[in-house]
């Protein structure tokens, strides 16, 4: 990275020498591997080694950007020339420019993101083989698999801009996943499980991942379509974070200033029941979306996005903030770690117990979400709940509603989040959604 620091300074200087008013550059390096085992043997071994350089140039409120994965001095120069020439062609916009200088993150924070895994390929292969084997051995009905994969990745990146800001991040990511296939009466069902973490010590046991994938695939055997009905729907922790993710798209600056969101002008308004709060924690140790500065160098700050049901702020970059006449929220590049506060001392099991008849969704497919007006319709599978118990597996149905209305009709959010990504959300129970089947 030191050599990138050097290159970054040179690049910014060169952009200025061409006549740029402002500029920012990014360098990224990644290295890693993944191995996949299937049928108790290694199927693929893949090495990764990536590098990239990008530059954004501002010329009198016009912008141009370019990137390259060739980091030779001449290629970097050519990339800057290209960005500069584009900036002389594009139309001006007063909202363009770097984020304000006084918003730059003041000092580096160690967020505990870098834990290289000293695992050689042979050990990784053994782990992948054992993971898949534990799925295949789980039950006679587990007849096949799409394989088990063990992967590890090291990333380094540098962002610098002409305010003099420069920030580096170093992080690692490790994962183990398995996809099992169960069969009964000639019909097959597939399900997966995975674990991922910044620190390899935080990974779940690889054999457990295999068994969980197998168990889940088995649970779906004999699934059937149900009659079209309205019923309470529980989204399991695996799928509930997608609801929060749609909410985040709806409150992101680019959706808002384009008037392309069902939550335009919702700041300081109630968007869900008062018992719901969502915190953004950019400095979470070992978090998947932890960073002390955003993609523009702006200092990130922990905050409440939703507090007691009220939307307290949007996700803004400096550009979208200027468009809306607001200040950046340090979200250039998207949201950071989100923690959805549990609303009750409940988890998936206890929620099911309290439902007379309803639908537990464990898988969603297809996009089917219209952020402009909030219309929601997705393919779903899971389980029918009868008298507080799982009655049978369900597939080939859809759940539909309108997100604006669905958010208001959340009844409970559980204390059982999966911590495998950047959104921690427990099981979510929503009253009365339309389920289309037979």
């Amino acid at each position: 990275m030191e050599q990138h620091q050097d290159k970054a300074e040179k690049a910014l200087k060169y952009a200025k020498s061409l006549g740029a008013n402002e500029a920012s550059v990014g360098f990224a390096d990644g290295e890693g591997f993944s191995v996949t085992a299937r049928n108790r043997a290694i199927e693929t071994v893949q090495d990764y080694k990536d590098q990239s350089f990008n530059i954004t140039v501002y010329l009198d409120k016009s912008v141009g950007s370019a990137s390259s994965n060739n980091l030779s001095e001449s290629a970097i120069k050519a990339t800057i020339d290209k960005a500069f020439s584009l900036s002389s062609l594009t139309a001006t916009d007063d909202c363009n420019g770097l984020a304000d200088k006084e918003r730059m993150a003041p000092g580096a924070k160690d967020l505990d993101l870098y834990f290289p895994w000293n695992l050689d390929i042979k050990e990784a292969e053994t782990m992948a083989i054992e993971c898949e084997a534990s799925a295949l051995e789980y039950d006679d009905k587990v007849i096949n698999s799409e394989g088990a994969t063990v992967g590890s990745y090291v990333n380094q990146s540098l962002y610098a801009n002409s305010h003099g800001f420069s920030g580096e991040t170093k992080s690692t990511g490790h994962s183990i996943s398995c996809t099992a296939i169960a069969s009964d009466n000639g019909l097959m069902e597939m399900d997966y499980d995975y674990t991922s973490a910044r620190h390899y010590k935080d990974l779940q046991d690889h054999k457990e991942i295999g068994s969980l994938a197998a168990k889940q695939a088995l649970d779906h055997l004999g699934s059937k379509k149900i009659k079209t009905t309205k019923a309470p729907v529980v989204f399991s922790p695996r799928v509930s974070s997608s609801l929060i993710s749609h909410l985040m798209t709806a409150i992101s600056g680019s959706s808002l200033y384009r008037n392309a969101s069902f939550l335009v002008d919702s700041k300081d308004k109630k968007i869900c029941p008062e018992f719901i709060s969502i915190r953004e924690e950019p400095h979470l140790k070992r978090g998947f979306s932890s960073c002390y500065f955003d993609a523009e160098g702006v200092e990130t700050v922990p905050r409440c996005i939703v507090e007691n049901g009220v939307l307290k702020g949007y996700l803004l970059s400096s550009y979208s903030a200027r468009r809306l006449g607001l200040d950046t929220t340090g979200n250039a590049g998207g949201h950071h770690n989100l923690i959805v506060e549990p609303t009750a001392d409940e988890n998936l099991e206890s929620m099911i117990k309290n439902i007379d008849s309803g639908f537990l969704v464990t898988g969603l497919i297809g996009y089917g979400v219209n952020i402009v007006n909030g219309d929601y319709s997705r393919g779903a599978n899971g389980f029918w709940i009868e008298n507080g118990e799982i009655a049978y597996p369900v597939s080939e149905v859809t759940v539909a509603g309108n997100l604006k209305d669905m958010l208001m009709r959340i009844i409970t959010i559980g204390n059982d989040p999966e911590k495998k990504g950047s959104i921690f959300s427990g099981s979510v129970l929503i009253d009365d959604l339309m389920i289309a089947g037979e």
Binding site: V45, Q46, M188, E189, R258, N370, G379, T398, A400, M434
Partner: protein, 482 residues
């Protein structure tokens, strides 16, 4: 049109090999290095990708970006195992290092010398033009501005117009274990348009676009008019849309882009890897009836200038027109070399990879259902109660259970044989192996989508076309709210 590989090779070599002083002898040495480890198959994939995009918003082109990437992928295959390593540096020592890393899966050692062949002639289905330099930058900006003006002049309810123009240009050189060198030059352009309309407290979006393996001259006045009309009309129609129904009903699918049904319900399930591994709901059904006898489905990578077309696949195999389902019977899978070899058959030219850094796997090219004997109007008139889904967003499938979804973004109720009110967007869900058995009528209006489709598999995105004629399916589940 037959191209002279010699001249393409000269162009590709000048862009990928010459700047780094990599000679044909060096390619020979790299391949020998891989073969000496005792692999069954292997290839070296040189690629550079140049792309640009221009985006209009608020009536002005305020954003433009350009990117260039290059790299070399080395793939070694022993039995069912494959090793992949790549280098983004095209310097010789980095290349040899990656060649060795990819063949680390091999155990035995033997001395082999590869023998590089002279390039031979191949068919070509698109011209070797660099779209990025095919039009002055100022003219690209004007093109987008014309779209904005036209869209806003169509209706006062149009409040936002976002249009983008993208060009992509790739040089590819493939060396395989038989010593064959194949090169290709692949152009691509795409125009996408999104409008937002407002009336009272209702807001809707309409989208359209098009493109293919052509240059920017493709976007002539008549195309632009069509795109604008499609996006604006779709958005305005949706302003009037009522809640979509929920439950099983008769569904008439429009021609063109709704072919995403064919892609999801059947296409993916017929890719060689899933069938070799027996993980597809279609595994073991070769020769069996999997669709109603009026259905014939084809994957064709040889359609002139189409987005999904390729002169050669990413293993250097010429692409083909492969009949997948004929009169309802399953007759072919789509194969790459690895899966073809393991299934004792031959590649159908469907081995594709997103780039040098990803594995080659069987993928679709342009996949569509052939036209039938009915007229579009006849099909609508035959439905007492149901829906007509004219246009779609994307779709997805669970290969193993066969369950697939696709979302309608312009649809209408059909009542007593007539198109009735428009309905809101809804997901449609079905079961691959049984859905096409319920196809009861097919029209004679086969069309491919306008050239905007991408297909995702194993985290890799590749451009494809989908297509179909108007068709009627009895009993498909519509995921509305009413």
């Amino acid at each position: 049109m037959i191209n002279n590989q010699e001249s393409i090779f000269t162009q590709v070599k000048a862009s990928l090999l010459d700047p780094y002083n990599v000679s044909i002898q060096d390619l020979d040495l790299m391949m020998s290095e891989m073969l000496s480890k005792g692999i069954d198959m292997g290839d070296i994939y040189f690629q550079n990708i140049h792309q640009e995009s221009w985006t209009l918003e608020d009536g002005l082109v305020k954003k433009s970006s350009y990117s260039s990437r290059q790299g070399v992928g080395f793939r070694s295959i022993v039995n069912e195992q494959s090793g992949l390593a790549y280098s983004e540096s095209l310097e010789k020592d980095s290349l040899f290092k990656a060649a060795r890393a990819s063949s680390s899966i091999a155990k035995s050692g033997k001395t082999v010398t590869s023998k590089i062949e002279e390039p031979s002639s191949l068919q070509n289905y698109y011209s070797f033009v660099n779209p990025i330099s095919s039009l002055e930058d100022k003219a690209k900006i004007e093109l987008l501005q014309d779209i904005d003006t036209l869209a806003r002049s169509k209706d006062h309810r149009v409040k936002e117009v976002i249009a983008s123009l993208a060009g992509n240009f790739q040089n590819i050189l493939i060396v395989n274990d038989l010593g064959r060198i194949v090169s290709d030059i692949r152009p691509m352009v795409r125009l996408s348009l999104s409008v937002i309309v407002e009336e009272g407290d209702r807001k809707e979006r309409g989208t359209s676009g098009g493109g293919g393996r052509v240059d920017y001259a493709f976007f002539n006045q008549s195309k632009i008019k069509t795109y604008v009309a499609e996006a604006v009309d779709q958005a305005l129609i949706n302003l009037e849309a009522v809640e979509a129904p929920a439950g099983e009903m008769t569904v008439v699918l429009g021609s063109g882009w709704p072919g995403v049904l064919v892609h999801e319900a059947i296409g993916h399930g017929l890719e060689g890897d899933f069938n070799r591994k027996k993980t597809s709901a279609f595994s073991g059904l070769m020769g069996e009836k999997v669709a109603s006898s009026i259905c014939t489905i084809i994957d064709d990578g040889t359609i002139k200038d189409a987005r999904g077309s390729l002169n050669v696949d990413d293993e250097g195999e010429p692409t083909e027109r492969t009949v997948l389902i004929e009169d309802g019977k399953l007759c072919n899978y789509m194969q790459d070399q690895l899966n073809a070899r393991l299934m004792n058959t031959k590649s159908t030219g469907n081995g594709r990879r997103e780039s040098y850094s990803t594995q080659t796997i069987p993928r679709m090219t342009n996949t569509f259902m052939l036209g039938g004997s009915h007229k579009h109007e006849e099909i609508i008139e035959s439905v007492d109660e149901g829906i007509y889904a004219k246009n779609f967003g994307g779709g997805q499938v669970d290969i193993t259970s066969g369950k697939f979804v696709f979302s309608a973004n312009e649809a209408y109720l059909i009542k007593n044989g007539k198109i009735d009110r428009p309905i809101k967007g809804a997901m449609l869900i079905g079961d691959g192996p049984s859905a096409l058995n319920k196809v009861s009528m097919i029209a004679d209006d086969l069309a491919l989508d306008p050239g905007i489709g991408n297909c995702g598999k194993d985290g890799q995105t590749v451009p494809v076309n989908v297509g179909q004629p108007t068709m009627k399916i009895e009993n498909l589940t519509v995921g509305g709210t009413a």
